[in-house]
């Protein structure tokens, strides 16, 4: 069976991509693989307990950003996201701004404390995921930055 190497490569692919089932059909050859699924699933298909629409959208953005090789700045704490140092002041950054490592990009307020969040590398801000004044969870994406 000369296709053996191809099959192994398909299986590697299956592992690498975490596939559960794989079916390939072409002239003279049809291959179908399936892995025992379920193991990583929660009780059911994750029930999506009504995530805020913004969050859902953001997750999509994040995935896109990931594919484009962008760096994501995530919230290190639960709190309220502010784009400017005080009401009425200019935002720390805008889409298109160039930021340097260590530069403050926003504030997260938690328990009346203003926590400054820094860029962790040089680059250009390409997306701002959260609206000014919105609550953010731990680990929520705030900015996408294209590394310089």
């Amino acid at each position: 069976m000369t296709d053996f190497d191809d099959i192994e490569r398909l299986l590697d692919l299956m592992d690498a991509r975490g596939l559960e089932e794989l079916e390939v059909e072409r002239e003279g050859l049809r291959v179908r693989f399936r892995k025992p699924g379920r193991s990583a699933a929660p009780l059911a298909a994750p029930p999506a307990p009504a995530p805020p629409a913004a969050e859902a959208a953001q997750r999509g953005d994040e995935a896109d950003a990931g594919e484009a090789g962008l760096a994501i700045i995530k919230s290190p704490i639960v709190g309220t996201f502010y784009r400017s140092p005080e009401p009425g002041a200019d935002p720390f950054v805008e889409v298109g701004s160039t930021v340097g490592k260590g530069q403050v990009v926003c504030i997260i307020e938690a328990m009346k404390l203003m926590n400054e969040i820094d860029a962790d590398q040089d680059g250009e801000v390409v997306t701002i995921f959260v609206e000014d004044g919105q609550p953010v969870q731990y680990g929520e994406s705030l900015f996408a930055v294209r590394p310089a």
């Binding site: 929660p42 009780l43 994750p46 639960v78 328990m111 731990y138």
Partner: protein, 446 residues
């Protein structure tokens, strides 16, 4: 009544609080660490907020994150469950400062009960029997040696800030005291950031008896009778029951009256548990008070019909208790087995993917769990995966039901303590109600 309660906990107790809230028509907010993204308490809360990475210090013990989550979600109360921040005066005060109710005792009571040595003194003044021991923590080993002169050996050293057996040493004779003093103090310092110790008479193989108390803000304090929790391994309870197989009705009511009196004396509010040792001569000695909901509260619920968690919520919202002492009756007998994710032989934790999870129900069986087929028991937290509670008209029926439920339990993917529980249930001493905190010594690794 509250409109929205944030539950600052995880696992079965977070679900337990969600049950109570749903029954009362109150919305819920779950907070969770990254390790619990797929947990049931997250799924079934009306709202959920990720508050940090898996490490408890960064999430479930993170007071600022929890207070912020409560504020952001508009919760008007926080239920802390047990463990984690349930006895944290800091959380209670921070919540109070933000106008959020803490579903537990007032901060002053939390701080009093958190200092074991202080609590002992306060309860003694309030009329509870305590073991002979030091009133104030000795400040040096010399003071300790001097204090020990007036007491009888064996003695036990305990951490003032303590709990869970850490900073604890049995001292059988004077020669052992100096070494024990040093090591226990270091342990207490490491565990609690507070190395103070106190000395108490040590009782060999006592029974562990504890009283469930409920108190409202309208002057009403009731007890729901006692639980016996003598089946322990390294100060971790394995099996609890209500009532104790040995207390008489008269003992129950007499000690209960002392307990509610003492609770009233210190301004106790909400739910709490007063723990006692019972020695071979049927004498009781106050040990400590747990100013929170206990893991084993379901045995009391099954026997009295009182929903302890709903009472907690009512009281915290300023309502009176829904029960009076006269209205409380004890029906039959209930036993709880704590099913832990651990080897039943080596007691090593066994976290991981649960492939199969089935515990039979049927008459008299209550199950409190956040586990299910295809869930994960994360390695970061307590190993408790399920509480199985069996009720019967008498202790024999409760034990028979527990046996049949555990013998038909199928959990695969992780090891659990089910086989250990079945061995305990089959011990003649257990069947006969001959219990003591030394019971588990007979098992290897105990």
């Amino acid at each position: 009544m509250f409109k929205k309660i944030l539950i600052a906990n995880r696992g079965e107790i977070a679900l337990r609080v969600i049950y109570a809230c749903r029954e009362l028509g109150i919305a819920t907010v779950a907070v969770y660490s990254e390790a619990d993204e797929h947990a049931l308490h997250v799924r079934f809360a009306d709202q959920e907020i990720c508050i940090g990475p898996p490490r408890p210090m960064d999430s479930y013990l993170n007071v600022p994150a929890i207070i912020t989550a409560a504020e952001l979600s508009g919760a008007d109360a926080i239920h802390p469950g047990y463990g984690f921040l349930s006895e944290s005066g800091y959380l209670a005060e921070a919540a109070e400062a933000c106008g959020i109710a803490f579903i537990g005792p007032p901060p002053a009571v939390l701080r009093l009960m958190g200092d074991k040595s202080e609590a002992r003194r306060a309860m003694k003044s309030a009329g509870l029997p305590v073991l002979p021991g030091t009133e104030d923590p000795p400040e040096s080993v010399d003071e300790a040696l001097e204090a020990a002169q007036g007491l009888d050996y064996p003695l036990i050293l305990k951490a003032s800030a303590g709990g869970g057996g850490r900073g604890m040493r049995i001292v059988r004779e004077q020669g052992e005291l100096e070494h024990a003093w040093r090591t226990a103090g270091q342990e207490a310092q490491a565990a609690f950031g507070d190395g103070r110790l106190y000395l108490e008479r040590y009782v060999e193989a006592p029974r562990h008896i504890e009283y469930q108390v409920l108190a409202d803000g309208h002057g009403s304090v009731v007890h729901l009778g006692e639980r016996e929790c003598s089946i322990q391994r390294r100060h971790q309870k394995l099996i609890e029951e209500c009532p104790s197989p040995v207390l008489t009705e008269r003992q129950r009511l007499e000690l209960g009256e002392l307990v509610t009196g003492a609770a009233a004396a210190v301004g106790y509010r909400n739910a709490g548990t007063f723990e006692f040792l019972m020695d071979g001569d049927d004498r009781f000695y106050f040990l400590e008070a747990n100013a929170r909901l206990q893991v084993e509260h379901p045995v009391t619920e099954m026997v009295t019909g009182v929903d302890v968690v709903k009472e907690q919520i009512r009281v915290a919202a300023g309502q009176p208790l829904s029960v009076t002492q006269q209205g409380i009756t004890w029906n039959g007998h209930a036993i709880e087995c704590r099913i832990n994710a651990e080897s039943p032989v080596t007691f090593r934790p066994s976290p991981g993917l649960v492939r199969v999870f089935s515990i039979p129900g049927g008459p008299g069986i209550r199950i409190d769990t956040a586990a299910h087929a295809d869930c994960t028991v994360p390695p970061y937290y307590d190993s408790l995966v399920a509480k199985v509670i069996a009720h019967g008209v008498d202790r024999a029926e409760a034990v028979a039901r527990m046996r049949r439920a555990l013998s038909m339990t199928v959990i695969e993917g992780i090891e659990t303590s089910v086989p250990l529980h079945l061995r305990i249930l089959d011990e003649p001493d257990f069947r006969d109600g001959k219990l003591s905190t030394a019971f588990m010594d007979r098992f290897a690794g105990g």
